[in-house]
Symmetry: C2
Subunit: 151 residues, 2 copies
DNA sequence: CTTAGTGCAAACCGTTTGCAAATGC
DNA sequence: GCATTTGCAAACGGTTTGCACTAAG
């Protein structure tokens, strides 16, 4: 919260009720909220807040370094906490859309090595592994689900 | 080409001039074409082909396993050859949008290990590393470019 | 001659923008 | 008071869809 107010002040922006509300609702969420989901949650507390303000405030929250934008396969951006949440990547089930978070120090290190080799300066990365979770594999085997993915 | 015709036949679809043309133009491209770029290229050979047909045919090419869809940071899908092109991932410069392709057998192996640990069946993955290429770092140092990225 | 494919225009969906009214500082 | 923010509605950009027409099998 203070980080956010810092960021506002530093950028010559104003602290408003809406911004405070949106940030605190965001901080209460777990996982990966979309703008629309956040909008619905915010509306419960103050129905007068508009869609636009959610988008604009999310941008500020990103700039303040409090959130990370992630995109899975549904075309919409999702936001996860960045502050004091160690970095992770995702296994994404293309059947049920469930997520498994993973972290590999080895992969991170190899990444750094590869970048160094090209004198590339890493700012961020997105490593997404798409496939079928254990559950969905079972369902497909038992004929509950049709195996519809390609290849 | 035969793979594509196979796929059409197998799916009970028809072979058409447009589809053949779009595929062959796609196969002549190098790198990462967007639907719009492909449309422009196709129009040079046959101006009557419509936008829609490009999209629909790209979908078929994907299904046939001849292309892979990749998304960088401009919101549009891009397509790269999949057939007889070994898998790779990308370093993406957020200043000049240039791309460096990389491949790491180690990362691929670790990925497999992680997936196995969760009994997750990998179908595909997308590993994108965003940052600054060597060129753009130099330009920023020399004040040619402003360093505008966040964090 | 029947089924699938085409091109066009309109729809779509997530996100952004222009604007007049409202609010923080 | 002045600049910034707000909510609304309209615009946006990439992609998809409904439709009457055309072409492949």
């Amino acid at each position: 919260m203070e980080i956010f107010h810092e960021h506002l002040k530093r950028s010559g922006l104003k602290r408003t009720e809406q911004r405070d509300l949106i940030l605190s609702v965001f901080l209460e969420t777990e996982g990966h909220v979309s703008a629309e989901e956040l909008y619905e949650l915010v509306k419960k507390r103050d129905p007068s807040v508009g869609f636009t303000t959610i988008y604009r405030t999310l941008k500020l929250i990103l700039e303040a370094g409090l959130a990370r934008e992630v995109r899975f396969n549904d075309g919409r951006a999702r936001y996860e906490h960045e502050y004091k949440h160690e970095h992770h990547d995702h296994l994404i089930c293309i059947q049920c859309n469930c997520l498994i978070e993973f972290y590999s120090a080895d992969i991170e290190r190899i990444q750094e090595e590869i970048a160094a080799q090209y004198q590339f300066k890493i700012i961020d990365h997105s490593h997404r592994i798409f496939g079928l979770c254990a559950e969905c594999q079972k369902k497909i085997q038992h004929g509950v689900l049709r195996n519809t993915y390609h290849h």
